[in-house]
Amino acid sequence: MRNRLNRLAIHATLIAFAAFYLVPLLVVLLNSVRSTEDINHAGVIGLPHGFVWSNFSDTWSHYCIAQHCSGIQPYFWNSLQMVVPATILSTALGALNGYSLSLWRFRGDGWVFGIVTLGVFLPEQMRLVPWVIVLRDLNLFNTISGLVLVHVIQGISFTTLFCRNYYVSIPPDLLKAARIDGAGFFRIFWRIVLPLSPPILIVTVIWQFTGIWNEYLYGVTFSAGEHQPITAALIALSARLTDAPQYGEQSAAVLMAAAPTLLVYLFGGRYFVRGLAAGAVK
C-alpha cells in the first residue's frame, strides 16, 4: 500500500514537471493555428476557435520582416545553406584532428589539443571583432559562405574534442599491427579508424547541426538584412515596433524555426544524450 502511494507520488511529480516543460511547446503549436484577434482577445494560453492554417503560408512566404515581405522562407534557406556545409566540414576536420591527436601522436600534441579545446570555452565576444575584420578582408562579410567559415573554424574545437576523446579508446595495438603491415596514415584512417567511427560521427553531426542552426550572435553580427539566418530573422520579426504584433503568424514562425532541431532530437535522441555525456563527463 505504502509502496503504491509512493509510486503515485513519483508519477504525480514527474507529470507536473512534464507539464511545465511541455506548456511552451503546446502554446506555440496551438497559437500557430489561432487568429491574431483571438490571441489578442483571449491571451496566448487558450484553445483555438477554428483552425487558421493560413498562418503558416503567410509566415512562410508573405510576412514582412524588416521591410522585406517575403516571409521567413529566405531565412530558413539561409540557415540550411549555412548549416549543411558547416556541419559536414567541421565534423570531417574534427575527425581528422582527433585521429592525429590521439593515435598518430607527435611531440607537443597535448599542448595543441589544449589550445584547440580552449576554443570551446572562450566566450564568443572575444572573437567577434577579429572575425569582422577577417571576413571583411576576405570579402565574405554578410554572406552565407562567411558564416560557414566562422562556424567551421569555431566548430573544429568542439568536433576535435568529441572525436579525440572517442579515438583514445581505440586500442593502440590495433594500429601497431596495421603499421607493421605497412599501412600509412591514410590507410589506417580509412581502414581502421573510420569504420569504428559511426557512433561518434553521428553524435558530432547532431550536435553541430543543432548548435549551428540555433546560433544567433554570429548570425546577427556578421550578416544583415536578407542574408541573416533564421534565428536573427526571428528576433527582427518580434522586434517590429511599427505595428501590432501578429502572434498567430509569429507562433508559426517560431515553430518553423524550431522544427529542424526538434526533429533531429526526436529521431536521434539516443545520440543526443550520448553527446551530452561525451562532452561533459569524459
Partner: protein
C-alpha cells in the same frame, strides 16, 4: 630514401597541420587581438595607440557594468541552484525504475534542442502580463492575481532565470541520472542490508559517489550562465531599461552599437576573466583528483 618514401612521410604532415594550425591561430591570435585592443584608444574603428588601463577603469566605474554584474550574480546563483535542484530531483525520481522512463526523459530534455531565441520569444509571451499567465488567471476570475516580473525593474532578471531553468534542467537531469546509474549496485544493496531507508541511502552512499559529476555539471551550468546572451535578447532585450542586462549584452552594446571598441573589448576580457575564475580552479581540482587516484 626514395621520393615515394619521402612523399609518404610528408603528406600526412601536410594534412594534419593546416586544420590544427588554423584552429590554434584562431584561438590564440583572435583572443590576443581583443586583449590588445582593450588597451588602445579604439572607438569606432580599431586604432593602435596605447591607452593603458583606462578602458578597464572606465568600464568598472560605469553604471551598465555594475548593473550587469549584479544581475549576473543573481542570475547565475538562482539559475545554478534551481537547475541542479530540479535536475537532481528528476534524476532521483526517474532512477526509481518507473514505467514510462523514456517518455519522461524525452520530454525533460527536449528544450535543449531548441534555440535560446525560440525559448526567449515563447517565454516572453507566457510572462507578458497582458497575454500570458496573468491574463489567464484574470480571465478565470482571479482578478487580483499579479505576475508582472517581465515589466518590473526589480524582477525582470528572474524571468531569465525561469526560461534558463526551463531549458537547462533536463540537461542536469540527464547527466546526474547517468551518474546515479553508474553507481555500483552493490553499494545500494549493502546500504539496504544495513537497513538504511531510501533517503538515507541516497544521502550517505550515492550522493557522495556522484560528487565529481555533480561538480562537473555545476561548472558547466555556471559557464553557461556567464555566456548567456541570446536568451536575454529574445526575452527582455535587457529591459525594462537596463534592468535585466548581462555582461555579454553590455559587451555587444559597446562594441557594435556605441562604437566603443576598446571599452567593449575590455568588457569582453573581463568576461573571459569571470569564466577563468570558474574554470581554472575546476581544472586544477580535476588534475589534483586524477593525480591522487593514480
Amino acid at each position: 630514401m626514395s621520393w615515394r618514401d619521402r612523399w609518404d612521410r610528408i603528406l600526412p604532415q601536410l594534412v594534419i597541420w593546416p586544420p590544427l594550425l588554423i584552429s590554434c591561430t584562431y584561438v590564440l591570435a583572435f583572443s590576443a587581438w581583443t586583449v590588445f585592443v582593450s588597451f588602445t584608444r579604439s572607438t569606432l574603428l580599431p586604432e593602435y595607440s596605447w591607452a593603458g588601463w583606462r578602458n578597464y577603469t572606465a568600464m568598472l566605474a560605469s553604471r551598465n557594468w555594475h548593473i550587469a554584474y549584479t544581475n549576473l550574480f543573481i542570475y547565475s546563483g538562482c539559475f545554478v541552484v534551481l537547475t541542479m535542484g530540479i535536475g537532481l530531483l528528476l534524476a532521483v525520481l526517474i532512477d526509481q525504475r518507473i514505467r514510462g522512463e523514456n517518455i519522461y526523459r524525452t520530454i525533460f530534455l527536449y528544450p535543449l534542442a531548441v534555440s535560446f531565441v525560440v525559448t526567449g520569444t515563447v517565454w516572453g509571451w507566457l510572462l507578458n502580463p497582458s497575454l500570458g499567465v496573468q491574463k489567464l488567471m484574470h480571465d478565470l476570475g482571479w482578478t487580483s492575481f499579479k505576475f508582472e516580473w517581465l515589466i518590473d525593474r526589480d524582477m525582470a532578471i528572474y524571468t531569465i532565470v525561469i526560461a534558463g531553468v526551463w531549458q537547462a534542467s533536463g540537461f542536469a537531469m540527464a547527466l546526474l541520472l547517468a551518474g546515479l546509474r553508474s553507481v555500483d549496485s552493490d553499494l545500494y544493496k549493502a546500504a539496504q542490508i544495513d537497513g538504511s531507508g531510501a533517503l538515507r541511502t541516497y544521502r550517505r552512499v550515492i550522493f557522495p559517489t556522484i560528487g565529481p559529476i555533480f561538480i562537473a555539471v555545476m561548472v558547466m551550468l555556471l559557464q553557461f550562465a556567464i555566456k548567456t546572451y541570446d536568451l536575454v535578447v529574445a526575452l527582455t532585450a535587457g529591459g525594462p531599461g537596463l534592468a535585466s542586462t548581462l555582461p555579454t549584452v553590455v559587451v555587444y552594446d559597446f562594441m557594435f552599437q556605441r562604437g566603443e571598441l576598446a571599452r567593449g573589448s575590455a568588457a569582453a576580457v573581463m568576461l573571459l576573466g569571470s569564466l577563468a575564475f570558474v574554470l581554472v580552479p575546476y581544472g586544477i581540482y580535476r588534475r589534483w583528483k586524477r593525480r591522487s587516484y593514480a
